[in-house]
């Protein structure tokens, strides 16, 4: 019907539709391609920023962002959020133009997300900081403690053990960031790096100061306490690693299809039966182990704050899972089995 009307137009190179209405995918004729017109409007000022004509219907949002970037070089694609509705969600990069509920003249609202930074950069700086900072305190570099203690070594073996555990934890995280994690967003706002790094670095310094202090008091229950805590810590580290591997194997490289994670042959992943985000559960467990191992109040504070943050994230992820998958297992809790 309307395709006949289209064909009735002269050479069929450009099409302006008077009444844009949601249309199903137009059947692709061999010779005639219906080009789209794309208009980009500033979401806040409603000023028309760009008008693109002769846009291929199979172009993706990413292509349009690239075109917009050409004319506005200060807004690279990662910074752009294009929306159908000024208050709606940003369209995904891989959305194809012709599948969107727009007429052949598409209007997108542009929102500047602000300076962006690659997530990998943020994660790595978050982890390298605590690793190095803790070691600075461990080796008792000058100006931290009284001068007579400079470069001295603690006489308590738990302090050496704590250093190994803390360093192991962050080295593991760095390696996971480099080789294992697959994150869906390429970037995050620039201010995140300052926020995240302050959080990790300040807490690391605070903890490290007390654990490596010359007046450090070892745990009350001695070897028993330290050994038990170490076992918990290692167990949870292996657990966390198993979960990260499992999550990586869910996603094929380049694909953005989401899948529900399930328990695998690895016993550490059996917790998936009860928890949506067991990586956070294991992380909490590791830090609780570290707290008991060092019997240090700042470590306890860090664990508590981390727990609160991870619970918020876990609940968000859990909600997303339930929204996306109708058959999402109902037995699962976000972070703590049956509790939270």
């Amino acid at each position: 019907m309307d395709t006949l009307a289209l064909e009735a137009k002269a050479t069929g190179q450009e099409k302006k539709s008077s009444a844009p209405r949601p249309r199903p995918k137009p059947p692709k004729k061999a010779k005639r391609i219906v080009y789209f017109e794309v208009e980009i409007v500033d979401a806040k000022t409603k000023e028309k920023l760009l008008l693109l004509d002769k846009v291929e219907p199979t172009s993706t949002i990413l292509d349009i962002k690239a075109l917009f970037h050409k004319s506005n070089p200060q807004w690279y694609p990662a910074r752009q959020s294009l929306r159908l509705d000024p208050k709606g969600k940003g369209l995904k990069d891989e959305d194809v133009l012709q599948t969107l509920p727009v007429g052949t003249t598409a209007s997108f609202y542009f929102f500047d997300l602000g300076a962006q930074i690659a997530w990998g950069t943020v994660f790595l700086s978050e982890c390298y900081g605590p690793l190095l900072i803790y070691l600075m305190f461990y080796f008792r570099l000058p100006f931290i403690y009284a001068p007579k203690y400079d470069f001295s070594s603690s006489k308590h073996w738990v302090v050496h053990l704590a250093c190994m555990c803390h360093s192991f934890h962050y080295v593991k995280r760095i390696l996971e960031t480099l080789f294992i994690h697959r994150i869906s967003h390429g970037t995050m706002p620039l201010r995140n790096i300052f926020k995240n790094c302050s959080y990790y670095w300040c807490f690391a310094a605070w903890m490290a100061y007390y654990i490596n202090h010359p007046l450090y008091t070892p745990p009350y229950y001695g070897q028993q306490q330290v050994k038990t805590a170490l076992i918990i810590f290692l167990f949870c580290q292996v657990g966390n690693f198993s979960i990260n591997i499992t999550l990586r194997n869910l996603k094929c490289p380049g694909s953005k299809v989401k899948k529900i994670p399930h328990p695998t042959k690895n016993p550490f992943t059996w917790i998936f039966a009860l928890v949506s985000c067991p990586n956070y559960t294991y992380e909490l467990g590791s830090w609780m182990g570290f707290t008991v191992m060092t019997q240090c109040l700042p470590v306890a504070f860090f664990t508590i704050v981390g727990f609160v943050l991870m619970t918020v994230w876990a609940r968000g992820k859990h909600r997303n899972y339930r929204k996306e998958f109708r058959d999402y297992p109902t037995l699962r809790s976000p972070i703590l089995p049956f509790i939270l």
Binding site: Y210, I211, L215, Y216, C296, L297, P298
Partner: protein
């Protein structure tokens, strides 16, 4: 900073359209009216107490003792305002309100009450009077707003008096904290030293110094925010803003 706890940030967020006038229900409004009336009355009692004590003694010195109890009671009572925001009957940011109220409560209890030696300082009178006038105006502003009969005078007072009261209060607070420093250092008040079995330490003296330093970035921000609010509210008289 905490001196005239000038207002909720609701007016600050009013430019985040859409103007969803999410007001409280009838019961909540009644409760809030009672709350604000009680608080206005309480701070009036403090104001009257100060004046009477001054007239009786003939000097500004040591007036704190005459209003110590109502000051503690009503300033601590302001903690309820955090609850109001959390529950949603007052459309303000929990974090900002919390910050303002807690800093006031901190000064009342953790500095003035805890360090007896500063109670005779004139700086205490300085911030107490700034708080008193501010709170009387602020709570009457809220009361009238809730009842939808806000006299322009009250609105004007709320958005004008802060110009003097805010710096006055901040000065009083800073001087009081500064006066408390030597006593805190000498007695090790609220401080924990190493070694101890929780491997933790806290130096209240350093903490107070850091608190004073934090006024430097915070005070100008809050002050200029209020000035912007003033311009918005008083120059658009026809735009009726309810709290």
């Amino acid at each position: 900073m905490s001196a005239p706890a000038m207002g909720t940030t609701k007016t600050a967020h009013s430019d985040v359209a859409p103007k969803k006038k999410r007001g409280p229900g009838a019961l909540a409004t009644a409760y809030l009216v009672i709350y604000n009336v009680v608080m206005t009355a309480g701070w009036l009692v403090i104001a009257v107490g100060l004046v009477r004590a001054y007239l009786a003694r003939g000097s500004y010195h040591g007036l704190y003792y005459s209003i110590e109890k109502p000051l503690k009671f009503f300033q601590t009572g302001a903690l309820l305002e955090i609850l109001h925001c959390a529950v949603g009957i007052v459309p303000s940011s929990v974090v900002l309100t919390g910050f303002q109220v807690l800093s006031r409560v901190f000064l009342t209890w953790a500095v003035t009450h805890s360090v007896r030696e500063v109670q005779n300082e004139d700086s205490v009178l300085l911030f107490v009077s700034a708080w008193t006038i501010t709170e009387i105006i602020r709570y009457s502003f809220y009361t009238f707003s809730l009842l939808n009969h806000l006299p322009y005078l009250v609105k004007w007072a709320r958005y004008t008096f802060f110009l003097v009261l805010y710096p006055m209060g901040v000065t009083g607070e800073l001087l009081t904290v500064y006066a408390a420093l030597p006593y805190v250092q000498k007695t090790g008040l609220y401080s924990v030293t190493l070694p101890n079995k929780y491997n933790f330490s806290f130096d209240y003296h350093t903490f107070l110094i850091l608190t004073m330093v934090s006024y430097i970035p915070l005070f100008p921000q809050l002050y200029f925010h209020m000035m912007r609010q003033r311009k918005k509210v008083l120059c658009h008289v026809e735009e009726y803003k309810t709290e």
